[in-house]
């Protein structure tokens, strides 16, 4: 019974495949998976938009949307309808073709990443050996879409936004990749399915997720930061920094194309959250041994949504960085930290004494963090100040 609930979607797929001749079955299986992804993730997108609007509202002491449907849960539907019936404005001087395909490229690229994400036990569309690499390749092509949008709009703000976006995404791809390297080093595989398998065992009731090791925690935090930058989330939302450059690269987009950008952005967020979950939080593995009976796909989605909630929380709290600070942060803090983390992971791999490797690794990680933080703040002379008063 437990296995059935866990495998319900796999069984469903096989059942439907059974209706087709064997030569077609592989194709139908893939198509079913694609359809499932195309249904599930946009639904999650709607859910996260709603969560974001309500969560931000509550953080700001407002209600958030509460008019459409009970407690406002139909708000995303209303948003979608609104986006659909809005006039689609293309600037007179825009490069119409590129302007048109940019959102499509973005959406296609972000959806491709899901092909390799294991969303549950035996639930992965393509079980590739180098699936991690594939994910990053797909993630990198979103930059192209962003730049196409910014360039074709023929708007100065769009161009600035696109420049910012490309610079930022390329810079943060480096630490993002480097943080995943530690996982590959330890698990010894580029396959996301194998990485999850490696984390899915328990000591007592506690799981062996990578986040519970020193290098894993450091990697997790760095991955979190880099993923926020990679998906243009606050406090790294410079490319669309609405108070500076209106809306960045999608300033000139309206109606459904704007909705596609919006979709692409959120689905990209879901994707990177899925990757982070897979790498550090045990993917579809249950958090405690006694919770193994809950279907694996539930855990995967629960973890993604938790991740999204954290993004929302950050967005509700943080102001935005500046471009040069963002770059400095990427190259002078993130990159060295990931390199140190690589060393720590290597130590972890080759030191056998359990307590020694725990102690040494923790000391290196925390020491490096504190030292680099101090140095960075001092170099920029950033500190709280005291004020004098005149009578």
């Amino acid at each position: 019974m437990i296995g059935k609930a866990d495998q319900i979607f796999v069984l469903l797929q096989h059942w439907i495949m059974g209706f087709f001749p064997p030569a077609w079955q592989a194709v139908v299986g893939i198509l079913l998976g694609v359809v499932a992804i195309l249904i599930v993730f946009p639904t999650l997108f709607a859910l996260s938009v709603l969560l974001e609007r309500k969560g931000l509202g509550r953080m700001q002491n407002r209600y958030g949307p509460n008019r459409v449907g009970p407690c406002g849960i139909l708000q995303p539907v209303a948003d979608a309808v609104k986006a659909l019936i809005k006039e689609d404005i293309v600037p007179f001087k825009a490069d119409a073709l590129v302007h048109f395909i940019a959102p499509l490229v973005l959406v296609v690229a972000v959806f491709m990443g899901f092909a390799v994400l294991p969303v549950g036990r035996n639930m992965v569309l393509v079980d590739m050996d180098a699936s991690l690499l594939f994910f990053f390749a797909m993630g990198a092509s979103t930059e192209l879409a962003v730049f196409m949008a910014g360039w074709s709009s023929h708007n100065k703000y769009s161009l600035l936004g696109a420049m910012r976006a490309v610079a930022q995404m390329i810079s943060y791809e480096v630490p993002l990749l480097m943080t995943t390297v530690v996982v590959v080093m330890i698990s010894g595989s580029l396959s996301l399915v194998k990485i999850v398998e490696a984390q899915n065992h328990f000591s007592g009731i506690f799981p062996h997720w990578y986040v519970f090791t020193p290098w894993g925690l450091a990697g997790f935090v760095l991955f979190l930061i880099a993923s926020m930058a990679e998906t243009n989330r606050s406090p790294f939302d410079l490319p669309e920094g609405e108070s500076e450059i209106i809306a960045g690269y999608f300033t000139e987009y309206s109606g459904f194309k704007f909705a596609l950008f919006f979709l692409g952005e959120y689905v990209g967020m879901l994707g990177i959250a899925g990757l982070g979950t897979t790498l550090f939080l045990g993917g579809w593995a249950a958090p405690f041994a006694f919770l193994n009976w809950v279907p694996s796909w539930f855990w995967f989605f629960a973890k993604i949504m938790l991740w999204i909630c954290f993004f929302i929380w950050m967005r509700g709290t943080m102001p935005r960085l500046r471009q040069d600070q963002l770059m400095n942060f990427a190259w002078k803090f993130m990159l060295p930290m990931t390199l140190i983390n690589l060393m720590v992971a290597a130590l972890w791999r080759f030191v056998d004494e359990a307590w020694l490797r725990w102690a040494v690794c923790w000391i290196i990680v925390i020491g490096a963090y504190v030292a680099m933080g101090r140095m960075g703040m001092r170099r920029k002379r950033i500190a709280p100040r005291r004020y004098r008063y005149a009578e």
């Binding site: 969560g55 509550r58 953080m59 700001q60 002491n61 407002r62 209600y63 929380w313 950050m314 509700g316 709290t317 943080m318 963090y369 504190v370 680099m372 933080g373 101090r374 960075g376 703040m377």
Partner: protein, 214 residues
């Protein structure tokens, strides 16, 4: 340490997130059409004209002295004096406004007309839902729209209205006393033959100062 301030900030937003579910102090939003805050007693939106008694036309306190028209900063009031006189609520013959229009699309709710009115005839309303789809005609309110009863005035500004009533009552009492005295004098005079009939005391309280020609 790097990140300390960020964590502090995150704690603060988390506190507010939780607080907005439990504390009314934090979640101050009012869900407007369903929920309404009672308007405060001193609230002011647009002016209205007070009338006494049951009939609005007869009971208007306004005597078309046009002071408010002159003092109104955006000049949104338009008054035409009547040619004839008619008795007001105390039975005195008075000029009345043949036309009294306020263009609320121009009015800026400053309450200066109320302040300068020596007759307590114009007061501020609290009705603010005046939206209309007719930009010009719909916002031009004539004297019939503007006339509201003294009871209504009592309802929206109770303290102020009772003060006004007390003051008017005093004035009326004074007038009556004067009229009585005049009547008595007239009666005394009437004892002497060929005395003219006692004129009704012409005692509209004069505006405080002379009118300013601008």
């Amino acid at each position: 340490m790097l990140g300390e301030g960020i964590l502090k900030g995150l704690a603060e937003t988390a506190k507010n997130f939780a607080g907005s579910y439990v504390s009314k102090e934090r979640l101050t939003t009012v869900q407007y059409p369903e929920e309404r805050i009672p308007t405060s007693e001193s609230a002011r939106v647009f002016p209205f004209l007070v009338y006494d008694g049951p009939d609005w036309e007869a009971g208007l306190r306004c005597v078309a002295c046009q002071i408010c028209e002159k003092e109104c900063p955006p000049k949104c009031i338009y008054i035409e004096k009547s040619k004839d006189k008619k008795p007001d609520y105390v039975g005195k013959l008075q000029i009345y406004p043949a036309r009294f229009d306020i263009d609320v699309s121009v009015c800026m709710s400053c309450q200066i007309c109320v302040e300068v009115c020596p007759f307590e005839a114009i007061k501020m309303d609290v009705e603010f839902e005046l939206s209309t789809d007719d930009r010009f005609g719909g916002l031009l309110r004539n004297r019939q729209h503007l006339a509201k009863s003294n009871e209504y005035y009592h309802q929206i500004h109770p303290t102020e209205a009772s003060e006004v009533d007390a003051r008017l009552g005093e004035e009326k009492a004074k007038l009556e006393a004067k009229a009585k005295a005049a009547a008595a004098a007239a009666a005394a005079k009437a004892a002497a033959p060929a005395a003219p009939a006692a004129k009704p005391a012409e005692s509209t309280p004069k505006p405080a100062e002379g009118t300013d020609k601008q």
